[in-house]
Symmetry: C2
Subunit: 241 residues, 2 copies
DNA sequence: GGTGGCAAAATTGTCCGACAGTCCGATTAT
DNA sequence: ATAATCGGACTGTCGGACAATTTTGCCACC
């Protein structure tokens, strides 16, 4: 039934080295900001060639565990930024051909909850950001790209205000997937812009007044609108423009 | 106020090459399974040294866009597997010191919804998996590690049965964070095992009978229990064992 | 025609050595 | 003390090399 043995894999040196360093970082033996020894020195310590070290470093760098501050030469220990990892997730999702419905269901699960906690926990600065992004949407209605960006930023701001990193990081990849779908939709559905603005105002108000339930239900309405908009857009004859 | 210029960054060759190849893959010009030219050939095509190509490949490999099938030498185009991606996310979250409360809130947002859709859309095979994992938990109660794994697998199975890749991929990183917390809790709280088993049975039944609402509410109870368990565990005097 | 076996060619993982460009630190000049 | 200068250190990239292993082309054989 189940195999008695599994194939043994001795990984290449560069991967072993990457793993060792990764474990040091995850185990907090190395802290963010700590400078790493030079490549030459690492090569000496591990007893391998510098080329091998460089390949190991590339792995850790793309994982966001190492990085350099702009214009600096030395490599430093870093903790992965949410932006980087979430872009990886959305690329994975995009490549797996997720449908709009799948995306929508996930947004429906996450965003209202984020809004609810945002109302309870937002700081003054976070509220400010929310207001600013909302204003930007209103100002940029003409420019489709800018408008879409503003919508996405609004979601991001709400998630940030929720004070929950897990929710924020779960939500971030959805934004990147939403953008293209929203771009198609926002131009085709005439009333879209007005409804979005309306929803943003109401959500922001609820968060300002710390009304969790209202924030949640308004966000639900907001998201539901996207589904309506998507249905309108996709049943719409192509030549309408 | 706002700077007139932004710092220009000319990325190193290996990153540029990685980007070019990545875009080809994301644009579907290269399909999963397609073999990549040899490193030497790539070096010729891009007009760089093989070492540079190798560093580019390392980047794409860690992104999960390239990979090789076991024991094969040639590199092939791949689409990132959810497993790989989600482990990156949970590492990021772990390094950012998320609290149990943050994790719990996110689970509370996602898991019940996943259960709801699972009830509506599960296939016979997915139900089978669910049953099997539930049975495994009951069988392994003695072995803490195995029990925790079974709990996590149960969540994974529910998410898979939801037929929503976005939900599944949003949920996966939470599991990896839950495991350590659950390990601490399950041994300290005597009634934990019985309650988990109970919840799993009820959730599975609801999903079997395609009762979305029941699946959802039972999952909510199940998750809520984790919070109770965590509170019990953390207010418990250390020396109880 | 298909199949198995085998030797040659190709490919990867790793190493060595090298060099230009750039950053950093110390030294010197103001 | 501050500013200019210099040398060393380090990264990005290159060229070449070699063992181990995979892939391929070929040939005999069923």
């Amino acid at each position: 039934m189940t195999d008695l043995f599994v194939p043994l894999d001795d990984q290449p040196a560069y991967r072993q080295i990457a793993n060792v360093i990764e474990q040091r970082i995850v185990a907090r033996a190395l802290h963010p900001g700590d400078p790493l020894p030079s490549e030459t020195d690492l090569a000496r310590q591990f007893g391998v060639n510098r080329s091998t070290i460089r390949e190991a470093i590339r792995e850790l760098e793309t994982h966001g565990l190492l990085g350099r501050v702009r214009g600096e030469k030395r490599l430093r220990v870093t903790h992965p930024e949410p932006r980087r990892v979430s872009s990886g997730v959305s690329r994975a999702l995009a490549l797996n051909d997720v449908t709009f419905l799948e995306l929508w269901e996930a947004m429906m699960a996450i965003e209202p909850v984020a809004a609810q906690y945002a109302a309870a926990r937002r700081t003054a600065a976070q509220l400010q950001t929310l207001v600013r992004v909302g204003a930007r949407f209103q100002r940029e209605v003409a420019d489709t790209t800018a408008a879409v960006t503003a919508v996405v930023d609004f979601f991001t701001a709400v998630a940030a205000a929720s004070g929950n990193q897990v929710l924020a990081l779960s939500q971030a990849p959805l934004n990147l997937l939403l953008a293209p779908a929203l771009t198609r939709m926002i131009d085709r559905v005439p009333q879209a812009r007005a409804r979005i603005h309306d929803a943003q105002v109401n959500i922001t108000d609820a968060i300002r007044q710390r009304r969790s339930e209202q924030a949640r239900t308004w966000m639900e309405k907001h998201i539901r609108d996207f589904k309506r908009g998507h249905e309108l857009e996709s049943t719409m004859p192509e030549g309408i423009l």
